[in-house]
């Protein structure tokens, strides 16, 4: 469904220094797959996601969705942001309906759809509230509802639960799993947490920094549905996988350190 080949992206910062965020990255995501993207911070996860979203122009390579190269943002994709990115002056309903409004959906229809999603996300009764009056977890529910409202084929999520507390995160993970297991959109989910990557994903794409590319694809052999009963048994496969991912990540961090300090590898 999503095919990424030879994707490279170099940023030039204000002082004129260049940073290579992505270097010849490749990745295939299957239809209806829940893919988690895990890697050390600064390895280019956000950049890769924004390239898929059409928000960041890349230097070379191709990104195709169902065989069509992407040209900027499109109605087939919707993004959920780490800092929620809600309009602080707009009510919950208006925020959820924002994407629909940009797509020219008539007022009555978009409000009806937004209200349904607000209820689905457990926010009934908060329709008229402003984002500033909601907790972080509730704000991200609004962010997810806004993305779902436009009925995207692909849901792009950039550390969506990174800014909420541990308990809220667990709840949101279960809710997201339940939603996904029901609707099965294709999801690319960026995280820096091994546990989250394993808990949610069909596969974990492990990214390395310098060069920024997908170093390894790790299949997650856990049964679904995983949402019920507080998630999967956290021993066995789950524990093995998170331990394996941490080993790999630690190797990357150590390589990084030796490179930086100039010590012989």
């Amino acid at each position: 469904m999503i095919e990424i080949h030879g994707l490279s992206k170099t940023f030039t910062d204000r002082r004129g220094d260049t940073v290579t965020a992505l270097d010849d990255a490749r990745l295939d995501v299957a239809e209806n797959e829940f893919l988690t993207l895990l890697g050390p911070s600064g390895c280019g996860k956000t950049t890769l996601l924004k390239c898929i979203a059409g928000l960041v122009p890349y230097d070379s390579g191709t990104i195709e969705i169902d065989g069509r190269p992407i040209q900027g943002p499109g109605p087939d994709r919707a993004m959920v942001f780490q800092n929620f990115a809600l309009l602080p002056w707009a009510s919950v309903v208006d925020n959820v309906a924002f994407g629909l409004r940009l797509r020219g959906v008539a007022r009555a229809e978009r409000e009806e759809r937004a209200r349904e999603l607000v209820a689905t996300m457990g926010l009934a009764g908060f329709e008229k509230k402003l984002p500033g009056e909601l907790s972080g977890g509730m704000q991200q529910r609004v962010g997810i509802a806004r993305a779902l409202a436009v009925q995207p084929q692909v849901l792009l999520m950039d550390e969506p639960f990174g800014a909420v507390d541990e308990q809220t995160r667990r709840l949101l993970q279960e809710e997201l799993l339940a939603l996904w297991e029901e609707q099965r959109p294709t999801v690319v989910f960026v995280t820096h947490s091994m546990e989250e990557a394993v808990l949610l994903g069909d596969r974990v794409a492990l990214m390395s920094a310098r060069p920024g590319r997908v170093a390894e694809l790790v299949p997650v052999d856990l049964p679904r549905p995983r949402a019920r009963g507080g998630g999967p048994d956290r021993s066995g496969v789950y524990a093995e996988l998170t331990a394996y991912l941490w080993d790999r990540l630690r190797e990357m961090h150590e390589e990084h350190r030796t490179v930086r300090t100039g010590a012989p590898a």
Partner: protein
Amino acid sequence: MTRLNARLPYQILTFALFAAAWELYARARGGLLLPGFFETLRATGALLAEPELWRALYVSNQALVLGFAIALALGIPLGILLGRFRTLERYADVWLNILLVTPMAAIIPLLVMWTGIGLTSRTALVTVFSIVMVIVNSRAGVRQVDPSLIEMARSFGAREREIFTRVLLPGALPAVMTGVRLGLGRAVTGMVIVELLMISDGVGGLILEYRGLLKAPPLYATIVIILAEALLLISAARWCERRLTHWSRTTATRANLAGSPK
């Protein structure tokens, strides 16, 4: 609104102290040129019945309304463009700085030489006095809009026009309204100063006339009326500001809790 009411007793108290000090000082000192507080009040009442005052107010406010309307019509779009497109800054910065730091009274003679001593000149001066506050605050308002909101809008397919109307304008509104309020204060200042310094007309002209005739009570009364108008206008602007930007007070405390990307 509740906060305003809570402050009211203190405001009345300080005002009463001020009035008492004035009255006592005027009585102790005596003399023709220093009317007491109560005499000034009486003179204000009397002046309000004079058609002369209303004509002067009409003349002055013509320049105020026109000049301030021009300042808003030019200043808000200009400030918003400057905030959005940084490259424009290079051209505008030096002019804004000149407007900010020049003692405005100094350019009155120039304006009079260019545009004469009529309404045009007074209007232009009100605009020049007030526009910089409007521009600078509108610009700051656009700058402080969270860039991730623009990115979000783009991800949902917003084009530049929609980014302006749906994200930048509403996001900048609180700061724009602050600029309107501050600009209004400067507009009133400009309105009076030009009449005092160069073009003896309107309420400024009235002040000069009473001074020339050594009529202190109506002179004081004129100043009281100018102050009252300024206070009224500023309160109205503040009221609009609160009505339009109710959300910015719910957000200010929470925005930081929402977490920022690492």
